[in-house]
Symmetry: C2
Subunit: 506 residues, 2 copies
């Protein structure tokens, strides 16, 4: 009886109140009966899918030795300030009710950096995952799955290690997580901030224009080069020749052979930043080859990533056969997500950020910054859930774990049903019964069907006097079983366990 | 390498910044390096314990057919308004940044009622659990475990059923959950709002003074009757004789025999409300007897519960051998928690609330309120976690699930270590290795010990050429194994799985 709605599509409790709510609103003492804009409830069926996905993700994370931490939903306002560039306007603030000013977390990365800065003496080497809600006052879009409250699933490795060793494991984990989720073929675009900066440098961009130009490049996955060039030249004041040179580079993509091409490039071959980035990528390709995931990687010079804090390798996983959603780039402008997957069809993304912890941790006695280099990624789990929800066979979705429904024929036999349920619970069997003293038979069968409870135990006065109960397979109804198979009351639990065991193997 | 701190006590990242943080603060560009007041981070070891407790609780909830839903962390301000009496001042509001006014949820019950009011057509019969954080701007107390952000674990049954059938299952579930958590002996105080109101009525309290007097009675678990009487007479204007009559009743406690005593009580025997409440309790005792949990119940007329919205049975579980924490009742005044356990030593509490959904759901076409009766409880999980944390053998606590550490002797053999780890991951084995190209042996053993990784696979150039690796039991070091037992490279995974299987049975 717990979840009559399990077989139905998800309840749309979106920010747009349905008509019937408006009707109710009038009746209900003027309550606006809805959730706040950009937030929604999750039905039991949706939660069952969500928890299944989380547990798949966590099992991969844990296979690599990660542990989890939790941080508060809100942080001191100044902790978040200055970390998200122009997206800072999307931060939710708490009201000033006296005391400190606080804001809801915008992502899990900045709280993680704050945690490391506070506890770096203990967690200087740290592999952690964190699955939790984050908050952004963005324009919600139900169709695009963009909400103001949504989950992120972050995995990060913090610590001073040898080059590309943790980075390549991150790529391996990303590959494993995405492969485990049944979302179809994907690829991982890969680039390096040092290479990108070198390209800007040799093309003639001034250092203070690196990030604005980088953010223009970042739009190449949803705008043509012509439009990006217009933004560079007209909005960001770049010389047309400079833009054209950049254009030559950012159209390049390929495998590890592209590393050699760039090493021999006339402009880049003497650039220290470029060579450092290319050395990293060469090593990364070597290590990912060992991990068997290099075939998923495309070295793509057009990948730039929104956030300022990346300092090394950056990557973004995209689905290969996903329909491209159309969204006006103008509307999207300035709304590239932070460490959340940014591009269209992007389902996971991240990179190396070596200086973020230092922004909090200050300097040591020698005046050197307390750096803890980090590399990590975030799974775009809301998009994945929405893809899998559509694939889900909603008809066969069962949210409750109930295995047996205890019902009565004729007399209500409430006390007998209670006794039997107690025995089941104590034996670890998931059991329910109808909360009526004298229920009719049909509603009991209906409840059983509705919740897809696989087994029924049917009791009647006569049978009880004979010391038997009837067990009926509700999942695969067999004519031969009729009203159920009589089993001695004393063998009931053993028989049920045998049947449940058999079913779990089917 | 993921969690060097697992063996250490929990990181105190409380709202009170430790001295070293203040030191850092000066260095760190004036960042207040702390979490917001009344909130804290949770270390991997704490999270491991927390998740273990949650999963124990959930498995009991699910055994009774419950499913879970999720609601947003914030609700429209008006949804919460007027639900918590004078405790409403503890509600966190979001800043007015344009658009709707919203507040952080204060509990999980009001959002659940709002959910039911919106979706009552689908969820008119519903068993749901919800484990999530709630927010209260109360005075934090680290020693008492009272934080501004904390978890609640709610279980509720919604729907129109026969009297006391769901109520008695709630008592059974409460008993099972608390028994499963290894927190020692407990008992469940039980009372009924109708009986309490009848007592007030026959004693001569005016109807509009029922709730204030009820809230005075609620303090009997931490104040003497004399002090409660003073509050009733001096603060709440009760006639002294009336207070004395109440005093006679609220000192009564016992088992089901007390029901008969009250049925025959001169004042109560003709009071309809009292008789209805007593009928309920007689039935509840009968059903809980069937469920084998009546021995945990004490019918206690001094139990009143803080919240206004209860309409029937109310209950509160307390630990029997817990030291009573001293807290000035004056300080506590007006801060009785809502559906969170209220009294000292209280670890779970709840009751029946038949009218809360109707406050949102308005009326039907006939002008009748859209009622969905509910009964439920909340586990005071933070208090339980704090009890179990103290009991926990911190020395043996292992947060990561890593089973094998792959290490090298002599040469670094990074690529070989990577290859072996990949094989392990692909085989479902939790494996880690050191992110160094040429690590020394001792740091690798140290990492293994620190994380309590039970097995090591040790490779050397010579052995690899011979086609063998060495496996060493790190948990139960055996002298005879020395530097490990040589195993053919091809049998490595089978041998590891055999050993892990054996260990899991130990």
């Amino acid at each position: 009886m717990s979840n009559q709605a399990e077989n139905k599509p998800p309840v749309e409790t979106s920010s747009v109140p349905p008509t019937k709510t408006s009707k109710k609103e009038k009746d209900a003492k003027k309550f606006a009966l809805k959730t706040a804009k950009g937030t929604r409830d999750f039905s039991p069926a949706e939660m069952a899918l969500r928890n299944k996905i989380f547990s798949t993700i966590v099992s991969t994370y844990e296979k690599h030795g990660a542990v989890t931490i939790d941080t508060p939903v809100f942080e001191l306002k100044e902790i978040l300030a200055g970390k998200y560039g122009e997206d800072s306007k999307l931060i939710y603030d708490l009201a000033d009710q006296g005391g400190e000013l606080a804001s809801l977390r915008y992502d899990l990365t900045v709280p993680f950096a704050r945690f490391l800065a506070m506890n770096g003496n203990i967690y200087a080497n740290f592999k952690r995952y964190h699955i939790a809600k984050v908050y952004r006052r963005d324009t919600p879009s139900v169709s695009k799955g963009r909400m103001r409250e949504f989950y992120q699933c972050d995995f990060d490795i913090a610590g001073v290690y040898d080059p590309m060793v943790p980075d390549s494991e991150i790529i391996k984990i990303m590959t494993d997580v995405l492969s485990s989720l049944d979302i179809g073929p994907f690829m991982i675009k890969l680039n390096h901030r040092k290479i990108l900066d070198a390209i800007f440098e040799v093309s003639g961009v001034s250092a203070d224009n690196f990030r604005p130009i980088s953010s223009a490049v970042d739009k190449l996955d949803k705008m043509s080069w012509q439009d990006v060039k217009i933004e560079m030249v007209e909005e960001k004041g770049l010389d047309e020749n400079v833009a054209d040179t950049i254009g030559e580079y950012v159209k390049l993509k390929g495998g590890k052979e592209l590393i050699e091409t760039l090493r021999n490039d006339d402009r880049l071959k003497d650039n220290a930043s470029a060579l450092a980035g290319l050395d990293d990528l060469a090593l990364l390709f070597k290590y990912t080859e060992i991990f068997g995931c290099d075939d998923k990687i495309s070295f793509d010079l057009s990948l730039a990533r929104g956030l300022d804090y990346y300092t090394g390798v950056i990557y973004e996983a995209i689905l290969l056969d996903q329909p491209v959603e159309s969204e006006s780039p103008k509307k999207k402008k300035g709304k590239s997500d932070a460490d959340e997957p940014a591009g269209v069809g992007s389902i996971a993304a991240g990179g190396r950020y070596d200086d973020l912890v230092g922004m909090f941790a200050g300097t040591n006695k020698k005046g050197q910054p307390n750096r803890i280099p980090c590399v990590g990624f975030s799974v775009g789990v809301e998009r994945i859930i929405s893809i899998l929800w559509k694939k889900q066979n909603v008809e066969t979705l069962k949210a409750s774990k109930t295995e047996v429904f205890v019902m009565s024929v004729g007399d209500g036999l409430i006390e007998e049903r209670m006794k039997i349920c107690k025995e089941f619970w104590d034996a670890g069997i998931h059991a329910e019964y109808m909360y009526k003293v004298k229920p009719k038979l049909q509603p009991q069968f209906n409840a059983c069907d509705r919740e897809q409870i696989p087994l029924a135990v049917i009791i009647g006065k006569g049978e009880l006097e004979e010391g038997v109960v009837k067990i009926k397979n509700m999942k695969f109804k067999e004519e031969s079983e009729g009203g159920g198979v009589a089993v001695p009351r004393d063998d009931m639990i053993a028989e049920l366990k045998k049947r449940l065991q058999k079913m779990s193997l089917q």
